[in-house]
Symmetry: C2
Subunit: 156 residues, 2 copies
DNA sequence: TATTGTTATACTCTATAACTATA
DNA sequence: TATAGTTATAGAGTATAACAATA
């Protein structure tokens, strides 16, 4: 099927990925409007990556791919909104621990619930098996936590 | 295999999609460094969506999801770099037509070539058949011209 | 009056640089 | 001296509002 823009060439994979992200973003922003005003994608990203016992700013920065400064800015609204608390680290006077509050956990669960709903809807539309393959492919492309994209020798 | 962040819960699909986009972006930015200095994702996005005969600013804005203002700003470096030319529309004195130049077509082809190389690499890593299914799923999620995305509602 | 495009301005997100406090 | 975090500032990307010219 050709469209006037791409002709007989394939639709760029970037367009497909970005379209999928756009739908998810719109969905999550409806969640923000309904229950968590002011939370944007970057906040949800952080909420779902905070471990139960909290984590240091530096480690969270490395883990998230943000600079410490960008992380601190993204974290401020989360702290103001009561989603996380930032505590001194007893083992190092310089360090601070970021930890989810109950409300933060609530938002975390809500986000995961919405993502799950979106994925179930997608699976219904394209077929459960096919969607499972697609998700598996994306997961296989992503190596470990700090993995590099070109890590071809990834063990499955 | 569980990680400390997600436990036994699935890795958020947003993380998978964003990771894939990040790899592609890094790849295309290497192309910018090598051959098309200054071009960013938004410019490539526009280059690959310009039809051969050119398009009006308004239509391109609607098509790209950008406001006319944002589009005009994104277009300026493309015009300065000689990738597109903006011409008056003979059929409407108000309108302007945006059209790819030869250099713009060159960049368009280069981008599509890189995307193709990335996809071939991915297919090799996860298996040709599996990758074909994954791409097909993403394409199927994108509905036709009048289609609407996964319309889901948020419970209050 | 509606539409095409422009000018002016502001907000979100992230980065680099320079700094303070603690190790 | 190196590390954890902060303050200040800048840039990319996109939006809204107000405007101009043409239909």
């Amino acid at each position: 099927m050709s469209d006037p823009v791409n002709g007989d060439r394939p639709v760029p994979v970037t367009a497909l990925l970005e379209q999928a992200m756009t739908w998810i973003r719109d969905d999550l922003y409806a969640l923000s409007d309904a229950r968590f005003p002011g939370l944007r994608m970057r906040h949800y990203r952080l909420l779902v990556m905070l471990p139960p016992d909290g984590e240091r700013l530096s480690r969270l920065a490395a883990h998230s791919g943000l600079t410490k400064q960008a992380l601190a800015q993204a974290l401020a609204p989360l702290e103001d909104g009561g989603y996380v608390e930032v505590l001194p680290d007893a083992s190092d006077g310089r360090a601070r621990l970021v930890r989810l509050t109950d409300r933060g956990r609530e938002a975390d669960e809500a986000v995961r619930g919405r993502l799950d709903a979106v994925e179930r809807d997608w699976a219904r539309r394209v077929g459960e098996e096919r969607y499972a393959v697609a998700r598996g492919v994306l997961a296989d492309l992503a190596p470990g936590p700090a993995g590099s994209p070109a890590a071809v020798t990834v063990e499955e």
